[in-house]
Symmetry: C2
Subunit: 328 residues, 2 copies
């Protein structure tokens, strides 16, 4: 257990922009040990007021789409422009590697070496809710350490995308040229939460294909976007040849500026914070509920009775809730 | 309060296909009075085993798209083929009429007069969760009364669509020819939960436009559908001229047959029943939680402390949950 002095030391280190202190802080936040969680929250409490001064980007796409190359290219550009860039990975249950996709040591080699960049691999294991909480809190620690562009990378195949879309300012989905077929791996509904689609590998032979794909997506988004406001932007790039990346950043920077001017940026951040509290509360209440042994046993009985038609769903729900509240 | 004998009488009446008994049963199910709810559940319990033998269709679309004309045309066709058709409306919070859109007495005049049809206007007022529960239960009562095609109509502008999509076998979204512009009113995300898009008013001058729209939607759906399996079907009809309706029904009937053969139909119905129990339980637990006066007061304090940065969201959620469970 860390003492109050240890926490102060880590907090001061983070505020000074010390990367080792930041890494230690995130390790605390990611820990499952009850006492670490306690200390992690105290640390966060100290740093909350120093956080928030950044642009938060979510970047999603299936493995092979070129996310790492893209993030490295953009990261190096941003560092050149004087930004400090933190990259966090979210990957609660990768079906590909049996663990963290970020485990690949050769990724983002150049960015890793930059003194203005901080790269944190995916926390391993844990529920989606847990990963989402820890990623949100890690964002705040990175901000307290002076990183002003935070990139959260997800693999685009699970449920984490929705959680991430709700903790960033802009959610980007990366795609390959070639339209429908190239989308095979991506999860249904992800396109809908995107603020921008980035078609990568718009280079050489594939440039024409990429341009055609851009038009198709623009049209599809216009058709599908419904009443939810402006359809997502569609932009082209080649992460490999480092073309189009600056334009993508410029677009995001311009939109950030507009949102800040209108006050919407602040408002959205505030809404995200409050809804985060609500959802965290609901998640853990429901976790306690369904994790309760008596509730679980009764629920199994109820399911059988439901199938037999001897109990209605409303009757079942009433029984389950009184069982849960009775024993408190 | 209804006596046991009253319930038996209503239950028997429903099983005999008596429309007045069915209407009385649904009124019980829709009531907010504690004792009616109790009796309604007893009624449902008696009838659950007689329910299930139907095809359940959700039909959504903004006002003006021609839902009523479509449902009437299809309903009359189905009645001609020997089916018995029930139409239920879901409209928890219409921004258009200040109440029930189904209140319009002139709607579905011909279908209303058929002895093989039952039309029930929207329950007025209530939360989305409540409306969803009552609609689900009303479906079961209609089935117990021998209706073998149940149509649930929604207005396509709120949150009810997701609840409805989860209680039907097929969810249809009706659109006008003309693509993006015609979609103005529809809620974002609804296209994604559709099993079929129906482009209405494919008639006269608009036929070419409708055909073009069909192609556009097919392409868009292919692009957007991601990993979720087969893109939704897109079909044309003219509800006014009664063309294309039979083909739409035939398509649904064929798919039903396939799903039944493979066992998927039964499986999905069963999954829907169990997840309905879970969600009903979670909804009412959360309703009790946020409705608790002490929790509400504390939550207000927590929100202020969050904004000030003197409390973390995790700390807040822990405080709220112990407050709720402490007083049990």
């Amino acid at each position: 257990m860390k003492s109050g002095r240890d926490i102060s030391k880590i907090a001061d280190g983070i505020l000074e922009g010390n990367r080792r202190a930041l890494a230690r802080g995130i390790t605390l936040i990611e820990s499952y040990r009850e006492e670490d969680i306690e200390v992690g929250q105290q640390l966060l409490e100290r740093l909350m007021n120093a956080s928030g001064n950044s642009v938060r980007l979510g970047i999603s796409g299936v493995p092979g789409v070129g996310k790492s190359t893209f993030i490295e290219s953009m990261g190096l550009d941003l560092v050149d422009q004087g930004h400090r860039v933190a990259v966090l990975a979210v990957d609660p249950s990768s079906p590909y590697s049996g663990g963290s996709i970020m485990g690949d040591k050769t990724r983002m080699q150049n960015l890793t070496q930059s003194a203005s960049a901080f790269i944190r691999p995916s926390p391993t294991g844990g529920t989606l809710g847990g990963v989402a909480r820890r990623t949100r809190e890690s964002i705040m620690l990175c901000e307290a350490a002076g990183y002003d562009v935070i990139i959260v990378e997800t693999v685009g195949v699970g449920q984490s995308e929705y959680a991430v879309a709700d903790m960033v300012d802009f959610f980007l989905v990366m795609l390959l040229p070639g339209g429908g077929d190239a989308l095979q791996g991506i999860k249904k509904g992800i396109i809908e939460v995107a603020d921008m689609l980035v078609i990568n590998k718009a280079e050489g032979d594939q440039l024409a294909l990429a341009k055609a794909a851009k038009k198709e997506y623009q049209q599809a988004l216009k058709l599908i976007s419904g009443n939810g406001g402006v359809p997502a932007e569609v932009m082209l790039c080649s992460a490999l040849e480092r073309t189009g990346i600056k334009e993508i950043w410029q677009n995001l920077a311009d939109r950030t500026e507009e949102l800040k001017q209108s006050g919407e940026f602040e408002q959205r951040r505030n809404d995200q914070l409050l809804s985060w509290m609500s959802r965290l509360t609901e998640q853990s209440l429901l976790q306690r509920f369904w994790g309760d042994e008596k509730v679980r046993k009764l629920a199994e009985q109820c399911r059988n009775q439901l199938r037999e038609g001897t109990l209605t769903p409303l009757q079942a729900s009433k029984k389950l809730i009184s069982e849960f509240l009775r024993e408190r």
